[in-house]
């Protein structure tokens, strides 16, 4: 995963800084500049110019295409200089050569002091390498000294670029210490930097290619990877000295690599815009073959022309691809990405500089920067693409996590629904069973009790059977387990008690708060109903009361019920020992079962007060 944008910016700075710093430094002040020389042709093996070869004075820098059109072989450059009167600190003098193309040897006062590589084809490629040759003090004469440079090079017609054609730059003779730093800087900029760029692009390219290969839908990455690799190879021309191929084959290789760069660049631009072109898919590989064929057909004499034609064609293709890319992106309602713009801008500038360099002398900085712009841009674009991919992966990961979350919650929902369904099913089964039991009870037990009620001759048995029937009905009600609103329960109780008291001529009074939100469990409802009935029965049967007051209320989370009558009261011995027919014990027992209590206060002649207190437990709290 790449970091944020600031890291990206730091990368840009790190890449550009050395390029600008190393580009050019002034040669020191004590320098002797050599701007002219005498030239003579020679042969590869000779240690001196060919005998009788005409002497031709030239100005430095010299280009063979100008001074010796069509020449191919060895040229000797002779310069003379006065040894500086007093070496500053006894240090070595050095000969600094900005450009010598392609291979060379240096002779001081007739003695060979430096070999720059193979002098016979294939030549060592020193064209982009600045040279620093120390002049041995022992060989220096006082007064006039002669330096001869034996240069082996190619004619302009045989090479694809002016920069690989034979020639020699101006020379400088200076104390070693003064030109050493200059040489190091120039080498770093002209050789070290391209080498680093090649390595970076190679790694990046392989990495991106692998990425694109794995993510087939991101085919532009694979093309970008191939582009970077092709360009890395192409850049090797700047730093690779050792000849490994015949010169013409090497030129062809460079041209084919340029064809590959174009192929991959065009495809990258198209694919990035989401386009696929059959013409490009087929035409570009065919074009690479055409390059080989065209080059061979043109022959060595016209290889430079062939190269320049191909350069123009390839540049045009890339330009067309850029236009197509931008149009497609615009059509999609987006703006071309900054990385693409950077790449296009850098290539355009680089191509323009290199084209111009073929015809005119470029400012030194521009000449140096021209081949460096594109690799830098490619590295940056590669990083940008990797960053985009990283973001896309991150977004995909987020999407995946969101999906996972959704799936999890959906699964939870299903599970919950299933559980609810099961609960519902269980409830339905219980309900059905309850109804069946209730129906059985009513049909069998109820019918028999009813028959007893209406056929028994004994009033006592009739009453007992009637009470049993009422009990049975209440039990069935308790079976439901359905909770009862306290207000509803109070309504039921009031209606029953007030009308029963009224039937026996006892004045009933009922006090209850309005609108209670509490609920009672089925069990509490049933048991409280029994306690109330028992109390009412006692009043009707035993108390001789004329008045009964019932007070209901909520206090301290308890449901409180007070039943008071003005009857005879209960004799202590009845309450304590016998409790015959009064059901006081069962009332207390029922209250205890509900975690409540039932207090009976009574005295003969003072009436009876029954205080029932039941906790409205958490389960019975307002729902």
């Amino acid at each position: 995963m790449l970091g944020d944008l600031s890291l990206f910016r730091r990368w840009i700075a790190a890449l550009l800084l050395p390029a600008t710093l190393l580009a050019w430094g002034p040669v020191a002040a004590q320098t002797l500049h050599v701007r002219s020389a005498l030239t003579q042709s020679g042969d590869a093996l000779g240690t001196a110019p060919a005998a009788g070869a005409p002497v031709l004075p030239v100005a430095l820098p010299d280009e063979w295409s100008r001074t010796r059109p069509g020449f191919d072989g060895i040229v000797w450059y002779r310069v003379t200089f006065e040894r500086p009167a007093a070496p500053v600190d006894g240090s070595l003098l050095s000969l600094a050569i900005e450009r010598v193309c392609s291979s060379f040897e240096v002779y001081l006062n007739g003695g060979l002091i430096h070999g720059g590589g193979r002098m016979a084809p294939p030549l060592t490629n020193n064209c982009h390498h600045p040279q620093l040759v120390d002049l041995p003090t022992a060989l220096l004469r006082p007064g006039t000294n002669t330096i001869e440079l034996k240069v082996a090079g190619h004619r302009r017609e045989e090479v694809g670029s002016r920069w690989r054609a034979g020639g020699l730059s101006a020379l400088a003779i200076a104390p070693h210490a003064e030109v050493e730093a200059w040489h190091a800087r120039r080498t770093a900029a002209a050789v070290g930097f391209p080498m680093g760029a090649s390595a970076t692009l190679m790694l990046l390219g392989v990495f991106m290619f692998a990425l694109g290969f794995v993510h087939r839908r991101q085919s532009q990455l694979a093309y970008f990877g191939a582009l970077a690799v092709a360009y890395a190879l192409l850049d090797a021309r700047l730093w690779l000295r050792q000849p490994f191929l015949d010169h013409q084959a090497f030129e062809l290789l460079l041209l084919v690599l340029l064809g590959l760069v174009t192929w991959t660049a065009v495809q990258f631009l198209l694919r990035t815009a989401g386009l696929r072109s059959q013409l490009a898919d087929l035409g570009l590989p065919v074009q690479c073959a055409a390059i080989v064929l065209g080059f061979v057909l043109a022959g060595p004499e016209r290889s430079s022309l062939a190269a320049q034609v191909w350069h123009a064609v390839l540049a045009l293709e890339i330009a067309v691809a850029v236009v197509v890319h931008v149009r497609q992106v615009r059509r999609d309602g987006e703006r071309p990405s900054r990385t693409i713009l950077l790449l296009v801008g850098a290539s355009a500038l680089s191509a323009a500089l290199q084209f111009a360099g073929q015809w005119t002398e470029l400012p030194a900085l521009a000449a140096l920067a021209a081949p460096l712009l594109l690799p830098v841009a490619l590295v940056l674009v590669g990083l940008g693409l990797a960053q985009q991919l990283g973001r896309a992966l991150q977004a995909a990961e987020q999407t995946r996590q969101q999906l996972e979350q959704q799936i999890r919650s959906a699964a939870g929902e299903i599970e919950r629904n299933f559980r609810q369904m099961v609960d519902l099913k269980v409830e339905q089964v219980i309900e059905r069973e309850r109804k069946r039991i209730a129906a059985d009870l009513h049909d069998d037990l109820g019918a028999k009790l009813l028959t007893i009620v209406h056929t028994s001759d004994s009033e006592r048995i009739s009453t007992l059977a009637r009470e049993a029937l009422e009990e049975m009905r209440l039990s069935v009600r308790g079976l439901t387990g359905r909770r009862v609103g306290l207000t509803d329960a109070l309504g039921d109780w009031r209606a029953e008690i007030v009308s029963r008291l009224a039937q026996t001529g006892i004045e009933g009074e009922w006090h209850a708060p309005d609108e209670l939100t509490h609920e009672l469990s089925a069990r509490t409802y049933v048991q409280t109903t029994r306690i109330l009935r028992e109390a009412t029965n006692n009043i009707i049967k035993h108390s001789n009361a004329t008045r009964c007051t019932v007070r209901c209320g909520i206090a301290d989370g308890d449901f409180q019920l007070v039943i008071e009558d003005n009857g005879d009261g209960i004799a202590p011995e009845v309450e304590g020992r016998l409790d015959r027919g009064h059901g006081l014990a069962s009332m207390k027992n029922r209250a205890k079962q509900l975690q409540g209590q039932c207090l009976v206060e009574s005295g003969p002649g003072y009436g009876t007060v029954i205080r029932l207190t039941l906790p409205l437990d958490r389960a019975a709290a307002p729902s």
Binding site: L450, R473, G491, A495, A502, Q503, W510
Partner: protein, 234 residues
């Protein structure tokens, strides 16, 4: 539970309305005999058609012009609710009274919806049943708190605005009728409510009758609509 709405002390000296032909639907022979005895005491000289099964009773309803039907709910071959509904269809002026051992609204409410005009709990003492029967025949049906709550819930549910307005007749309770229902639900007896509202016993009884009538009308319309829907889609 004993039916609420029984006045504290009500002794009717006037005989019940003229009930000449009566259907008695009861499966237990002893109880049926006991009931016949009781009915003859309340409505002397009445003709009593006895049935032990729903099928027999339906035959009687179709064949005989009835003034009153005393209908048990849990019968060997079905529920007495069907008999109540058929009687309401065929002889709207005849009165149905449910006589049952079920006191819960789950059993009673459907019978009331079908057109029953009150209910009597079988196990009550003879004199209580006599009194209730007389009162019902005079147009004073009983109404218990749980039934009152059920009726209130029914009309509240019906009054809810629906997405598709139903073509049902807009039967709704008046404010006074709702007031009476609310007080019954709280456990007040009908005479108590009469005192509270400053109304006579008869006026309160009229309200209760209206409530029963509206419940029946609305339920029948609903049932008809449901039948039509099933007929259309079934």
């Amino acid at each position: 539970m004993i039916a609420a709405g029984a006045p504290i002390r009500f002794r009717s000296s006037s005989p019940g309305a003229q009930m000449k032909t009566i259907l008695l639907l009861e499966d237990l022979p002893e109880i049926r005999a006991w009931m016949r005895n009781l009915v003859l005491q309340v409505f002397p000289g009445a003709t009593i058609h006895e049935s032990a099964r729903v099928q027999d009773a339906l035959g009687v309803v179709a064949a005989v012009r009835l003034d009153l039907a005393l209908v048990d709910l849990g019968l060997p071959d079905g529920s007495g609710v069907g008999v109540v509904a058929r009687l309401r269809d065929l002889q709207p002026e005849a009165q149905s009274v449910v006589v049952t051992i079920h006191d819960d609204d789950e059993h009673l409410f459907p019978a009331l919806q079908a057109g029953a005009f009150g209910y009597i709990l079988k196990e009550q003492a003879r004199e209580l049943i006599t009194e209730q029967l007389q009162r019902i025949s005079q147009g004073e049906p009983p109404l218990s708190p749980s039934i009152a709550r059920r009726v209130m819930a029914y009309f509240t549910e019906k009054a809810k605005p629906r997405a598709n307005p139903s073509p049902l007749p807009n039967v709704s309770l008046t404010e006074r009728e709702s007031e009476v229902l609310l007080r019954v639900a709280k456990g007040y007896t009908l005479p108590e409510i009469g005192v509270q509202l400053g109304l006579s016993r008869h006026t309160i009884a009229d309200y209760v009758k209206q409530i029963y009538r509206k419940l029946n009308v609305s339920s029948r319309a609903e049932a008809a609509l449901e039948a039509q829907r099933l007929g259309l889609f079934g």
